[in-house]
């Protein structure tokens, strides 16, 4: 998992992806899709507390990025973080339990959907504050640089967070300190209920990043191979001491800002159309069929395996105990 970074620290491009890695990337995307589609169903039953932001539609970004990383690289995620967590290797059974608010969830039910983290996987936390993550990612990048171990630190964010001053601060500081930070802007067209075409003054988020003095490129976020290759370039740049860079991905989300969002700001047929043109899984299947890198039967087998795993995750989550009242008081401090 997260295996595409080679042992000598160089990165692969998609033309050199072997069948095993191709299948792994597909499985990761499919796992995210199934996880989110199933949550969409389960949330409607009322069994899942709180509110949840689904990542379905954006899978190729999380997976294209994280397939270039190892567990000793870091990512910092967003409120729409399930995809990043899965792509970085977080346990989906523990994640599902966490989202159900259960004691044996990945964070013991104390964080929920928007705060899933796993330090052992280099996953430094989903983050419910838009723009909260990039400064933290720069800090992890400082640690990478100081240790001289060629690791990198990635900040995910959307077109919404790209309007936050914290992101500007983080980008500038990353350039000034020349740290191995990579900013991934997932421009899904909406900051909550407001279009990016309205809220992004310059219409050019990669251009903003470039203005801070780092390389930035814009890629099709529904194209796994394009994201993977762009990330390969960014990681290679960072690992050789070149400092930060930014990748803006144009992408869409298949659901609302949160589950229950009536999406009155979207044209009635918008999502249906995008599910035809911007579905990264369909496009991945078409691509590998064309280049004959893996047979469709193997992808079908992954679909079945992933579907069973998600079913198991939901069954186990529902059967898991809630935290005990005493858990309220634990882990505020290490000692106090």
């Amino acid at each position: 998992m997260n295996g595409s970074a080679t042992s000598d620290g160089t990165t692969l491009d998609s033309t050199r992806l072997d069948p095993a890695r191709t299948l792994h990337a597909y499985r990761q995307m499919k796992l995210i899709r199934e996880f989110e589609e199933r949550l969409h169903v389960e949330i409607a039953t009322g069994d899942i507390p709180g509110f949840t932001h689904l990542y379905a539609g954006q899978e190729a970004v999380a997976v294209g990025v994280c397939e270039q990383l190892s567990h000793s690289d870091y990512i910092v995620s967003t409120h729409r973080g399930h995809g990043h967590c899965i792509a970085k290797g977080c346990d989906v059974l523990g994640m599902m339990k966490e989202i159900y608010g259960r004691q044996d969830g990945l964070c013991h039910g104390k964080g929920g959907s928007m705060h899933i983290a796993d330090m052992t996987k280099g996953m430094l936390g989903a983050n419910a504050i838009v723009g909260g993550g990039p400064p933290i990612a720069v800090g992890a990048a400082i640690a990478c640089k100081l240790r001289g171990n060629r690791n990198v630190s990635v900040a995910f964010g959307g077109d919404g967070s790209a309007n936050q001053g914290t992101v500007f601060e983080a980008m500038n500081m990353a350039v000034v300190l020349r740290v191995p930070a990579i900013f991934i802007i997932e421009n899904n067209g909406y900051s909550e209920h407001t279009g990016a075409s309205y809220a992004v003054g310059s219409k050019d988020l990669a251009g903003r990043a470039r203005a801070f003095g780092m390389p930035a490129e814009c890629v099709d976020g529904a194209d796994f191979h394009a994201v993977f290759d762009a990330m390969g370039r960014a990681v290679a740049h960072a690992r050789k001491g070149g400092g930060p860079s930014t990748i803006e991905t144009t992408i869409t989300r298949f659901y609302g800002h949160f589950e229950g969002d009536p999406q009155n700001y979207r044209a009635k047929d918008e999502v249906a159309k995008l599910r035809v043109t911007m579905d990264c899984l369909k496009r991945f299947r078409a691509r590998v069929a064309e280049d004959r890198s893996v047979p469709a039967s193997e992808l079908d087998a992954i679909d079945a395996e992933v579907s069973a795993l998600i079913e198991r995750a939901v069954v186990e989550a529902k059967a898991s105990p809630p935290p005990s009242p005493a858990d309220l008081y634990s882990d505020v401090y290490i000692n106090y």
Partner: protein, 337 residues
């Protein structure tokens, strides 16, 4: 024992901890200063108050990071570096600047461990200079520790002298929880006896600065030396006080305060902060709940007024509680006898 200013005591603590533990880094605006300047002098500042002087030449740019004026990025970077295994000491310069990076402090650093189910540690120290008395005006003079004391997940340290400052800072750096470290600007030049070797002062243990029998006086930071003057003056008249410096407001050593009030029956709290929702209120409420029957007189709070800190020296002198007000408050507490 050597006499050091609080500034030099803090500086010594940073030098010793950076030498002891290579995971300790220092970051902030002008922590060394000089980068990009025309003089060519690389350590042109050593911190705006001189607390980080000499660190850059000794430990290098990898561990002593001059940052842009980007408080959210400074504090956020400290948070991320801590999650990634370092032990950052971030300098915010003026405590008032918490306003531009509050999210990173109270939504991020304070909550990581809890919301990640105990699976992360964030051993960050955020140093900030606070306090009135130098005519720095409303945005450079506040004592906002009550704001941060209210946040679960943070430890709040407020030294009043050079000895405590060194020991508390070393404890803060070695502590695995996030620590906010307030340094009163007026105390930087004050000297005290400070051992050369590294030592720690534990959190949650108040310092009994004076022992007496009539009144319990609780004071923080610069209010401690002011209270010492008032208490010592009254001692000559036979009015003796317990003077308690909590040193940390989170955790707060409630036991020492309550035990003292059980003995004296009178409580005066001195706080260089506005009166609403402040530490004086917090301590008063604690004593009212836990030692009400011991009280012989109403609790007296000596605080700054419910105003911003004024600039004009004539006004700022009125704003800051000084020894005469403290002395008058102690007399008021004794009025029934």
């Amino acid at each position: 024992m050597p006499q050091l200013t609080m500034r030099d005591a803090l500086n010594q603590a940073l030098h010793q901890e950076m030498a002891r533990d290579e995971r300790v880094i220092v970051l902030g605006e002008d922590v060394s200063g000089g980068a990009g300047g025309t003089s060519g002098e690389r350590e042109a500042s050593g911190g705006i108050f001189g607390v980080t002087k000499g660190l850059l030449p000794k430990f290098g740019e990898g561990r002593v990071l001059d940052t842009p004026i980007s408080e959210s990025a400074i504090i956020g970077a400290a948070a991320g570096a801590a999650l990634a295994g370092l032990r950052p000491v971030a300098e915010l310069m003026f405590a008032d600047f918490v306003g531009v990076c509050f999210d990173q402090i109270y939504n991020q650093i304070a909550k990581f461990r809890y919301m990640f189910g105990g699976k992360s540690t964030c051993p960050v120290v955020i140093r900030m200079a606070m306090g009135a008395g130098m005519n720095m005006g409303p945005q450079h003079s506040q004592t906002i520790y009550s704001l941060l004391t209210a946040i679960p997940g943070l430890k709040i340290v407020i030294p009043s002298n050079a000895y405590d400052a060194k020991g508390l800072l070393i404890q803060a750096i070695r502590d695995d929880d996030p620590v906010i470290f307030f340094e009163h600007k007026a105390l930087y030049p004050r000297k005290g006896e400070v051992p050369e070797e590294a030592y720690t002062v534990p959190f949650g243990e108040a310092n009994l600065v004076r022992e007496g029998e009539h009144v319990t006086v609780v004071a923080l930071a610069r209010m401690v030396p002011f209270a010492e003057r008032a208490v010592d003056a009254l001692a000559k008249e036979g009015i003796t006080c317990d003077l308690i410096d909590p040193r940390t407001t989170s955790p707060l050593d409630e036991d020492t305060i309550i035990e003292s009030v059980e003995g004296t029956g009178r409580l005066v709290i001195i706080d260089e902060s506005p009166p609403r929702c402040g530490m004086a209120c917090d301590i008063a409420a604690t004593v009212a709940q836990k030692a009400f029957r011991s009280l012989k007189r109403p609790i007296i709070q000596v605080t700054a007024p419910h105003t911003p800190v004024p600039f004009a020296p004539s006004l700022e002198r009125v704003y800051v509680p000084g020894p005469p007000r403290i002395e008058a408050a102690i007399r008021e507490a004794m009025r029934d006898e």
